[in-house]
C-alpha cells in the first residue's frame, strides 16, 4: 500500500504549500485552415479550467475516456506543453511560462513515464545511455561514476545490471517499461507524471510494474500524477482520484469516497461500464449504458459538457455550467443534480 494516504485533499505533509498546484489551467490547440494564409477557425479545448493539487508522496489518479484531456493535463504539468491560460505552481514557484532554458532544473524534480515502452526509448541508444543521459545533462556526477549509478538503478527496477550495454529491442515490453521507470527515477524527482504506464502490458506484467511503482514511491516519497483509463488500476494505486470529461474535472475525491460514494452521474456510468472478473457479480450488476459517443472537444456542448449523454439532464444543465463544488470534505463534484445514494462498483 502507498504511504501517507489519509491526508485531506490538497494538504501537504507539513500543512504548507502542496508539491504541485494547478490553477484553472487551460490548453486550447488552434485549428487552422488555408495553406499560405493560415486562419484560425477554431480550437480544440483539450483542457479547460482544471484545478488540482498533489501533495508530496501522494498519488493522484486521473481517469477519463480518450479525448478527455488527461494526457494533455500531464504534459501541462511537466511543461512539455505551455498552458493557454491558468497557472502551474510547483513547490510555490510559478512554472507556467518558464522558458525552455530555465526548465532544466525543474526536470530534476518532475519526470515522466510514458505509455508506449516501444516508442519512448531510442532504439539506437543502449540502456546505459538512455538512463545515463539524464545524469549528464543535469551535470550530476554520482559517486563511483555514471555507470555504477545506472547499474544501481537497473537493479532497483528489477533488471540485471549486466544488461547495461543492451539495446531496447533486446528487452520485452515489461522490461522496457522498467527501463523507462529507471530513467524517470534516475534524478530522484519529487513528482512523476505517469501517462498510462501499464496499459500496454499484459496482465501479469502489469501487476509487476504496479508493485514496482508502489515500492519506489515508498522508498523515495515520490508523488505520482497517475493518468489512466483503467478504473481498476487507478483504484488500486491512487490516494485521490479526479474524473475528467471533455477537458473538465467532473468529480474529485479520495479514492474510497469516489469508488464507494460517487456523486457525479458520469462517474457512475463509467464505473458501471467496467466489467469485473467475477461472473456471478457481473450478471447481477446493473449497467448504465450511455447513449452515443463522446462529443468532439472542438465543439463541446455548452454549459454542463455531459448533458448530451446524461439521463438526469434538465433545462438548467443546458444553460448553466455547474461549478466544481465541495460537497463533502475532500469531495468535489461539478453537477447540478449529484447522486445521493452511494454506489458500490
Amino acid at each position: 500500500m502507498t504511504t501517507s494516504i489519509e491526508q485531506p485533499a490538497g494538504a501537504s505533509a507539513g500543512g504548507g504549500v502542496p508539491l504541485l498546484e494547478v490553477r484553472s489551467v487551460q490548453k486550447y490547440f488552434p485549428v487552422t485552415r488555408g495553406i499560405f494564409i493560415k486562419k484560425q477557425v477554431g480550437a480544440v479545448q483539450a483542457v479547460d479550467g482544471v484545478s488540482l493539487t498533489v501533495a508530496a508522496g501522494e498519488t493522484l489518479g486521473v481517469v477519463g475516456e480518450s479525448g478527455c484531456g488527461k494526457s494533455t493535463l500531464g504534459r501541462l504539468v511537466n511543461r512539455l506543453l505551455e498552458p493557454t491560460d491558468g497557472q502551474v505552481i510547483f513547490e510555490g514557484q510559478d512554472i507556467t511560462h518558464v522558458s525552455t532554458g530555465d526548465l532544466r532544473p525543474l526536470r530534476r524534480d518532475i519526470q515522466m513515464i510514458f505509455q508506449d515502452p516501444f516508442s519512448s526509448l531510442n532504439p539506437r541508444h543502449n540502456v546505459g545511455t538512455i538512463i545515463g543521459t539524464a545524469l549528464k545533462l543535469q551535470k550530476i556526477s554520482p559517486p563511483g561514476g555514471d555507470k555504477k549509478r545506472v547499474q544501481e538503478l537497473l537493479e532497483l527496477v528489477g533488471l540485471n545490471p549486466e544488461h547495461y550495454n543492451r539495446y531496447p529491442h533486446q528487452f520485452s515490453g515489461g522490461q522496457r517499461q522498467r527501463i523507462g521507470i529507471a530513467r524517470a527515477v534516475a534524478l530522484q524527482p519529487k513528482l512523476i507524471v505517469a501517462d498510462e504506464p501499464v496499459s500496454a502490458l499484459d496482465v501479469s506484467i502489469q501487476a509487476q510494474v504496479i508493485n514496482l511503482l508502489e515500492d519506489l514511491q515508498r522508498e523515495f516519497n515520490l508523488a505520482y500524477l497517475f493518468i489512466a483509463h483503467d478504473l481498476s488500476v487507478v483504484r488500486h494505486i491512487s490516494d485521490r482520484v479526479a474524473v475528467m470529461y471533455l477537458g473538465k474535472v467532473m468529480e474529485m475525491a479520495g479514492r474510497d469516497a469516489l469508488y464507494e460514494r460517487a456523486m457525479h452521474p458520469y462517474t457512475h456510468a463509467l464505473m458501471s461500464a467496467v466489467p469485473v472478473p467475477d461472473p456471478a457479480k457481473e450478471k447481477a450488476r446493473a449497467r448504465i449504458l450511455l447513449q452515443g459517443d463522446l462529443p468532439s472537444p472542438l465543439n463541446p456542448p455548452p454549459a454542463c459538457r455531459f448533458h448530451t449523454r446524461c439521463w438526469k439532464a434538465q433545462e438548467v444543465c443546458k444553460t448553466q455550467e455547474p461549478p466544481l463544488l465541495q460537497i463533502a470534505p475532500g469531495h468535489q463534484v461539478a453537477c447540478h443534480f449529484p447522486e445521493e445514494r452511494g454506489v458500490t462498483a
Binding site: S204, P275, V276, P277, P279, L289, L290
Partner: protein, 355 residues
C-alpha cells in the same frame, strides 16, 4: 454445455458431436530462427448459442487459433495439424476455396482494430454490401444496399441510410466497431469470432458493444468465440473459458469453474494479478514472476514451469514431462502435474484468501 474433452485426440475420424469441434490443433510457422509453435495441440468444443472466452497473454496463441478456424493460414507457409469440425465439415484439410465459401457466410470475424480492418478507400456500406453479394450471387445491388442499411440500423448506427455512404475515417471508434459487427453479421453466420473486439475502445463504448453482442447472440443464436486478455469481459460474456499458455490449453471449464474454482497455477496467477474495481485490495498484487515464454523455445515439460511457484513440489517432473489436459470434474479440465488434492489444498489455503 460443451463436454467433449477426452485428453487431446479422440479417435481422429470420429464424427463430431458439437457444432464447432477443434481437435489437437497445431499451427507451426517455420522461420529463420526456428519453428514457432504458436498453437501446439489445442482441443475445444462450442455449441450454438454459447460463448467461449479464450484468455491468455500476448503470444499465447489466441489469435492464431482464431485464424486457423477461419482458414486464414491456407496458402501461407504455416504447418497445420489436427482437425477443425464446423457443423459436420472438416476445415483443416478442406480446400482453400471451400473454406472461403464458408468464411463470411457461416463463420465471420470481428477484428480488434476497426480502422485498419475497414478499407479506407471504399465506402463502409459498399464494403458490407460486397460481402453480402459475394455469398448471395442472385441478389441485386439495391437489395444488398437495403440489407446493409438494415444491418447498420440493427447494430445501432443512427441514420444508417446516410452513413452507408461514409468512409471508415468518418466514423468514431465505437461506430466503426459497430460497422464491423454489421459486416460480420450480414450473412447470418452461425459462428462469430471476435478477436479483442473492445480492446481499442473506451469503457463506456465497450459496454455498449458487449451489450450489442449479447443481444445479437440471443436473437440469432450464433456461437461466439471471444478472444481477450480482459478477465472482466470474459466474466461478463463467456459461458466457457479456455486459458491458453504457450500455445496450449492450461485450463478449460465453465466460467464459474475457472473464476471460482481455478485449478491451474497460471490461472491463479492471472486472477491474483488483476486490479479490481469492486474492492480495495489491502495487500500488494501477486504478479506472476518472469515473462511469457518465447514460442521458438518453449520450456520443456510444462511451459509454465519456470514461472510456477509450485513446480518444485513435483520434483523435476514439470521440467521433463508435458502435462496432458485431464478432466477434474466433467466439463472442467486442467493441464498440471499437481495432484487434485494438492491443487485443492493450495487453492484453499494460499490462493483463495488473497483473491
Amino acid at each position: 454445455m460443451s463436454s467433449v474433452l477426452e485428453d487431446g485426440v479422440s479417435a481422429p475420424s470420429a464424427a463430431p458431436r458439437s457444432y464447432l469441434e477443434v481437435r489437437d490443433l497445431q499451427v507451426h510457422f517455420p522461420t529463420d530462427d526456428g519453428l514457432v509453435k504458436s498453437v501446439d495441440g489445442l482441443s475445444f468444443t462450442l455449441e450454438k448459442g454459447q460463448t467461449l472466452g479464450i484468455v491468455g497473454e500476448s503470444g499465447s496463441g489466441k489469435s492464431v487459433t482464431a485464424q486457423a478456424v477461419l482458414g486464414l493460414h491456407k496458402g501461407t507457409r504455416a504447418h497445420l495439424g489436427g482437425e477443425i469440425w464446423l457443423d459436420g465439415q472438416e476445415l483443416v484439410h478442406a480446400g482453400a476455396e471451400d473454406v472461403r465459401k464458408l468464411r463470411g457466410s457461416k463463420m465471420a470475424m470481428i477484428f480488434q482494430d476497426p480502422l485498419s480492418a475497414l478499407h479506407p478507400y471504399f465506402k463502409v456500406g459498399a464494403q458490407i454490401a460486397e460481402g453480402y453479394r459475394q455469398h448471395h450471387p442472385d441478389v441485386s445491388k439495391s437489395e444488398a444496399r437495403d440489407r446493409t442499411i438494415e444491418m447498420l440500423r440493427r447494430v445501432g448506427i443512427p441514420n444508417p441510410d446516410k452513413r452507408y455512404s461514409d468512409y471508415g475515417h468518418q466514423f468514431s471508434g465505437g461506430m466503426r466497431q459497430r460497422a464491423m459487427i454489421a459486416m460480420a453479421l450480414v450473412n447470418d453466420p452461425s459462428l462469430l469470432i471476435a478477436d479483442e473486439p473492445t480492446t481499442a475502445l473506451d469503457v463506456t463504448v465497450q459496454a455498449q458493444i458487449i451489450d450489442l453482442m449479447k443481444d445479437l447472440q440471443s436473437e440469432f443464436g450464433s456461437a461466439i468465440i471471444i478472444i481477450t486478455h480482459d478477465l472482466g469481459v470474459v466474466a461478463e460474456i463467456a459461458d466457457d473459458v479456455l486459458v491458453m499458455y504457450g500455445g496450449r490449453c492450461a485450463e478449460y471449464g465453465t466460467a464459474d469453474d475457472v473464476f471460482y474454482r481455478p485449478q491451474h497455477p497460471y490461472a491463479w496467477g492471472l486472477l491474483g494479478s488483476v486490479t479490481r474495481l469492486d474492492r480495495v485490495r489491502e495487500e500488494r498484487l501477486r504478479p506472476i514472476p518472469g515473462t511469457p515464454p518465447s514460442l521458438i523455445s518453449v520450456p520443456s515439460g510444462c511451459a509454465f514451469n519456470p514461472r510456477c511457484t509450485y513446480a518444485p513440489l513435483n520434483g523435476d517432473r514439470c521440467q521433463t514431462e508435458r502435462p496432458e489436459l485431464v478432466t477434474v470434474v466433467p466439463g472442467h479440465a486442467v493441464a498440471c502435474h499437481l495432484s487434485d488434492a494438492q491443487r485443492t489444498d493450495i487453492f484453499r489455503d494460499e490462493i483463495a484468501p488473497t483473491l
